[in-house]
Symmetry: C2
Subunit: 459 residues, 2 copies
Amino acid sequence: MSIGGATRFELSEADIPTRWYNVVADMPSPPPPPLHPATGRPPDPQDLLAIFPPDLVEQEVSSERHIAIPEPVLDIYRLWRPTPLYRARRLERALETPAHIYYKYEGVSPAGSHKPNTAVPQAYYNRRAGIGRLTTETGAGQWGSALAFAARSFDLDIRVYMVRVSYGQKPYRRLMMETWGAEVVASPSTLTASGRGTLDRDPDSPGSLGIAISEAVEEAASRKDTNYSLGSVLNHVLLHQTVIGQEARKQFDLAGDYPDVVVASCGGGSNFAGLAFPFLGERLTGNAPKETRFVAVEPAACPTLTRGIYAYDFGDASGFTPLMKMFTLGHGFVPPGIHAGGLRYHGDSPLVSKLVADGLVEAQAYGQVGVFSAAVQFARSEGIIPAPESAHAIKGAVEEALAAKRDGAARTILFGLSGHGHFDLAAYEQYLSGALQDFELPTAAIDQALKELPAVDRA
Amino acid sequence: MSIGGATRFELSEADIPTRWYNVVADMPSPPPPPLHPATGRPPDPQDLLAIFPPDLVEQEVSSERHIAIPEPVLDIYRLWRPTPLYRARRLERALETPAHIYYKYEGVSPAGSHKPNTAVPQAYYNRRAGIGRLTTETGAGQWGSALAFAARSFDLDIRVYMVRVSYGQKPYRRLMMETWGAEVVASPSTLTASGRGTLDRDPDSPGSLGIAISEAVEEAASRKDTNYSLGSVLNHVLLHQTVIGQEARKQFDLAGDYPDVVVASCGGGSNFAGLAFPFLGERLTGNAPKETRFVAVEPAACPTLTRGIYAYDFGDASGFTPLMKMFTLGHGFVPPGIHAGGLRYHGDSPLVSKLVADGLVEAQAYGQVGVFSAAVQFARSEGIIPAPESAHAIKGAVEEALAAKRDGAARTILFGLSGHGHFDLAAYEQYLSGALQDFELPTAAIDQALKELPAVDRA
């Protein structure tokens, strides 16, 4: 097994998409609206305007097929976009598969993942709305560093509530944010009522994404100069990520090929949507040359799409957000501590969930040992060391390639390599030393969390 | 100060250089040859063939202007080459300079620096010579990870002797090498006579680059299946790096511009040579549109070119290698522990040294506090967090841009951004917290080391 032989399909700056693609315009039936937990009705836009700028609230509910990307956003995108599409010829040879494997690599962004694709427009729209300050939460740090970079792009101050256990364990991600000028606070903190409440109950709390969200939202809601920013799940976030798939579509023209299957990892859903939706749109509108399949890959330790149910639930752990109709394991579900921190979310985006419910998107779940095995095979054949989240897509693509080999079919596989693993090498050490383990997830644990679903499901 | 507004000048795969440029062909006078320390005569090629493959020994002494890049090497180069050239418009605005600042970014390689440009051909030529195994040394880990990646590209086994103190302090660089399948050993080790000798004298030795070189060379010299690989200093290493400057030259055609000054950091010299030599060649052959200046930037804590002397000295600390005529602080000189580990070399490449001695290349030295200040200003304006080594070039470029501002001159500045700082964020923390310090380097320390120069200087 060795590296190289890949072919890179290159676009120029002029090929950066100038508009985002909104899949809502082409879905057979639109996703059910979010609901206010108290009233059971869609939330008042005013509630959203307390923490989001008008442009993003508008995009959140838009059913326009295309939304123009503002020039100042394109200006920043040009720092790393278009991103490369590679044919993984050495991986194909290592697998002895007749399949063609392509991957779209988003790790070339300054923050090292796809997250800046939405962080940049979110910062821009906030600046345009006269906002001078953002808050957000981050777990492993990918989203926090993307927003720190984006905030700096538009001269916004930013405070990142970083889950305390990650704050201690991932100093490099924290330092990356600080180098870009962000203020990083370990959560729970004494800066907010929700943080202080948590610390009162448990002074040694390691924190959680749910608590960090509560702190960031509380601060944004209570300060006029400050808005909140979210890195996945919501419609406008998925919208911004569609630059990935639109570029990949053009690159397949250069390659003279078209995917039979599109594979991407799925936590909150924005990475999957970004790659898949532009191809899915072609299929939904009858413009695709093939009956392409779409596969969302999730961790077996947090199997939202494969073992959850499709129901209204809260977006956060504490039950502060509007209810969203989505695949969920229950907002009280706490996934085991796998290395792919970005995929540890109890729910999934309403858009991806609806497409799964309608049978247009498939879902698969894999344990982390198999995922890291695929990641190392990829690193040793293609040279790039992937983030643990992205490695889920590699595992999915490898399984598709092995299936093509069994079937003797020269299928074309596209997967999304959403980021590099430069800050995740401790996880590789665990794998290489044989210490990495899979988690058994008892059905009872899921059943218990699902019992706490809110009673407002009226779909 | 904010990010973006840069313009990327893009080449396609077809623009990757197909031959390396050998500056020896165009130098006014060639560099003096290396000398065997015992005989005072140029070393027998057979000595070199004990640890290097024939193609590299030939390139080391070649005076051909161009040497073809083998197709299997180009095949791997295509994973990340051509690398981007950016116009740093936001940095220009932050400095309020009339200068145009461009940078060539080599951090997009899998190993994150320019080092794979030579690691890949070195691995290839060894494989072609029937060698199945490489040894090398690494300090901070940039070279070791580049060679680990390259060895994997051509199915070579590799053992990296990593300076013990870095082995402990830089676990991520070590894990990167292991992920690519390299064996990484803390040096001094018990695997070699020189390692055991060092441990006998000092069981707690933190190691040094000199000791690690001795171990790697000893093992390569004593095993028929194993060769040694060096990451800088030698002529063939500088040769391979000229893909950087050749691409930049084409990108300046796209930009409709040409550098008045080329700035690059300089430790062993390969990064500087890679960017500067193709432009210098144009000037030496009368084909340059401008009287371009060339500036090599080094750390004030290891001021080889600015405070050393031009004399024959050993390439390693222990005095095992042939003598090379170069700027040197004395092979016994131990530089203070600055963060730019890749620039802590007592000497400099014979080619760069000769050009400095002939007045064709200038040298500047800066302290690390000023260097990190420039690095953070760059990260906050252009988005990329640079390696400490690369930040020396940023500091040099910033000084040139400020000089242009004082002179009211719209000069064009090109600098080399040789790598990213993803594994160097602890150094940024030191700087951001105010704990980073400059080192005073007493003249007596240099004088003392220079006293130990070998007595064979006959130039």
